[in-house]
């Protein structure tokens, strides 16, 4: 059985956000919820400033605190290392969100996709209502509904349950790449079996020194970051006392 992991090459990543948009479309992610997200940071004082951009998603930790804390096993590990969530078992206690050190689990506070549930026309007698638009293209709740998501979990999660990245388990199951990986125009995301020494992820991790988010707390995240884009030049110096 493989153990899936992802390497994110920060030198290749241009911060375009295509991963987030692709994820949203593939997994029918509602507004306000981000399975694929980012951490940005500006450090230094002008003119010596630098902008950091770190794409984030569920880390599919080996020692996942969300899984350990879930009272109903709604949050669970698959044999291939994916941290999966079963909305049917979720009681909405939100303890996984509380436990997650990475802030990548979100809660459906109300009915998801509120905009598309609106029956009112935007301009009366002129435009269609969001509900009509969805019906016109045979969508479910949203016009861009992807039925493939429902192959392994709820197509659209209901109110009162949490949701998060599943490494596109429904695609991986069919031998396809997670959709954020597929959509990345810079090939900055590399997905594969970390147990296989010949996989692309294993080779990259052998070649570059990776870092992981909050490694010190022992969760064993399986999102690895390598390299860093830095065009800055500086004159060799030993500083001054």
């Amino acid at each position: 059985m493989p153990r899936y992991a992802m390497v994110i090459d920060l030198q290749r990543c241009v911060g375009c956000g295509a991963c987030s948009i692709a994820c949203r479309n593939e997994n029918n992610v509602p507004e306000g919820i981000y399975w694929s997200n980012k951490i940005t940071e500006t450090v230094g004082v002008f003119p010596n400033v630098r902008y950091h951009y770190i794409p984030t998603l569920c880390n599919h930790c080996q020692n996942a605190p969300c899984v350990r804390g879930c009272p109903t096993k709604a949050m669970h590990k698959l044999a291939n290392g994916i941290t999966m969530h079963d909305p049917d078992k979720c009681i909405g206690c939100k303890y996984c969100m509380f436990n997650c050190p990475y802030g990548v689990i979100y809660f459906n506070w109300g009915k998801p996709h509120q905009f598309w549930r609106n029956n009112e026309e935007l301009i009366k007698g002129c435009t269609a209502s969001p509900v009509e638009e969805t019906k016109a293209v045979d969508g479910r709740v949203i016009p861009y509904y992807n039925p493939a998501r429902a192959e392994t979990s709820d197509g659209i999660r209901s109110k009162g349950v949490v949701e998060k990245c599943t490494f596109c388990d429904h695609r991986v199951k069919k031998g396809e790449l997670p959709y954020c990986v597929e959509a990345c125009p810079a090939k900055a995301r590399i997905f594969g079996d970390i147990k296989d020494p010949n996989s692309a992820v294993s080779k990259l991790l052998g070649k570059h020194r990776p870092f992981r988010l909050r490694e010190g707390i022992g969760t064993e995240p399986h999102i690895f970051y390598i390299r860093n884009f830095n065009p800055a030049q500086y004159e060799a110096t030993k500083g001054a006392a």
Binding site: G32, Y34, N37, K38, I39, T40, T56, P65, R68, G69, C70, P71, T72, K73, A74, D88, K89, C90, I91, G92, C93, K94, Y95, M97, F98, N99, C100, P101, Y102, G103, V104, Y106, F107, N108, W109, G110, K111, S158, K159, G160, V161, V162, L213, I217, G218, T219
Partner: protein, 364 residues
């Protein structure tokens, strides 16, 4: 008297109706009605749950003094203590039930239990505690505190009353993501707070009962009230010490800026009822007990909210994007109504039991 009772029942009825209306709205619209978000996840209803659950454990422990250890003055109050412990744990269940996003999936707690989860363990212990308390009440109601079955319920309730606060503390304390909860110490603080809450709640209840219901019970209760006054002052001092110790340990082992957020106002409001208890004239007066006990309960509720929010106000990871370093929170009207509902359930059960269940009867 009759008019006062009718007004009291009307207030309770209004509280219950408001709570039921809140429940319906929550089921229809979801927790968007709360002022919670993906950063501040657990809010007033959880604070309310923690308060009532710990108070129930404290009341359960106090009832064990008479039921299990034979302390005479608590034997007489045993039935009332057990009833209040039951009412408090049910109030806690109301709060937490309305906080759950998908209460309709709750049966998975039994069908698919994760015994490694502190929430599962806490839920199990509080459920067993409720069963033991009901059993204890049944044995007291049939005037039997000595049989094997009674002892079994008594021991079960005593053990649960100790372990439940410890596990409740660990629900917060073992979260990797929340350094401010300071894991190893929070369960101990919860146990101490449970004892203080139980003593303060019973002292306030007994004083109010004595003031409202004049009768032979009022005369016979002086000894109990005097003992509760002493226990309240003593346990409050320990709670104050433990709160300060927890704050110091937390700030010494966590990020340096957390050292600045020790709430001295809260410590002061724990100190005031303690100081009141040191003055014999205040400690022995009904009004002194009422004010000191009431102040203790309000401060402890505030302490629960401070502990709860303290671990959440700093956004984690990508959720910090575009947000300030520290967030603020104030409850919505619906969150207040959950608290009102829980309180109404507790007081309704107590009112009903006082009228129909002979709470003054002492078991043999």
């Amino acid at each position: 008297m009759r008019i006062r009772y009718t007004v009291w029942l009307s207030v309770l009825g209004a509280g219950l109706l408001a709570g039921l209306y809140t429940m319906v709205r929550l089921f229809l619209e979801g927790h968007i009605l709360f002022n919670a978000n993906d950063v501040i996840i657990w809010t007033l209803p959880i604070g309310s749950y923690v308060f009532f659950a710990l108070t129930s454990s404290g009341l359960g422990l106090l009832s064990s003094l008479g039921f299990l250890f034979g302390v005479q003055i608590y034997k007489r109050a045993g039935k009332r203590l057990v009833l209040l412990a039951i009412a408090a744990v049910l109030a806690a269940f109301v709060s937490v039930g309305l906080e759950l996003g998908s209460l309709n999936h709750i049966y998975y707690i039994f069908l698919s239990p994760n015994f490694g989860s502190p929430i599962q363990i806490m839920g199990s212990i509080y459920s067993i505690e409720l069963v033991c308390l009901l059993g204890k009440f049944w044995r007291l109601h049939v005037n039997d505190a000595q049989s094997g079955v009674s002892k079994l319920f008594g021991i079960g309730s005593f053990v649960c009353s100790i372990f439940a606060p410890l596990v409740l503390g660990s629900v917060f304390g073992i979260t990797e993501a929340r350094p401010t909860f300071f894991g190893s110490f929070l369960p101990v603080l919860c146990l101490v707070i449970a004892i203080v809450s139980g003593v303060a709640a019973f002292m306030v209840y007994t004083v109010i009962y004595s003031l409202v219901v004049k009768g032979p019970y009022h005369e016979a209760n002086d000894l109990l009230l005097e003992d509760l006054g002493v226990k309240h002052t003593f346990t409050l001092f320990i709670a104050l010490l433990f709160y300060l110790l927890w704050a110091i340990l937390r700030s010494a082992t966590s990020l340096p800026d957390f050292a600045t957020d020790v709430n001295f106002a809260l410590a002061l409001f724990l100190f005031i009822p303690f100081a009141m208890g040191l003055v014999p004239a205040i400690r022995s007066s009904h009004w002194g007990k009422l004010v000191a006990g009431g102040l203790t309960l309000i401060t402890i509720f505030k302490l629960h909210m401070e502990v709860l929010l303290g671990g959440q106000v700093r956004p984690v990871g990508p959720k910090a994007e575009g947000l300030p370093a520290v967030l603020s929170y104030s409850p919505s009207i619906w969150e207040y109504l959950v608290l009102v509902f829980s309180l109404a359930v507790l007081l309704s059960l107590a009112t009903f039991a006082e009228k129909y269940l002979r709470l003054d009867a002492e078991a043999a």
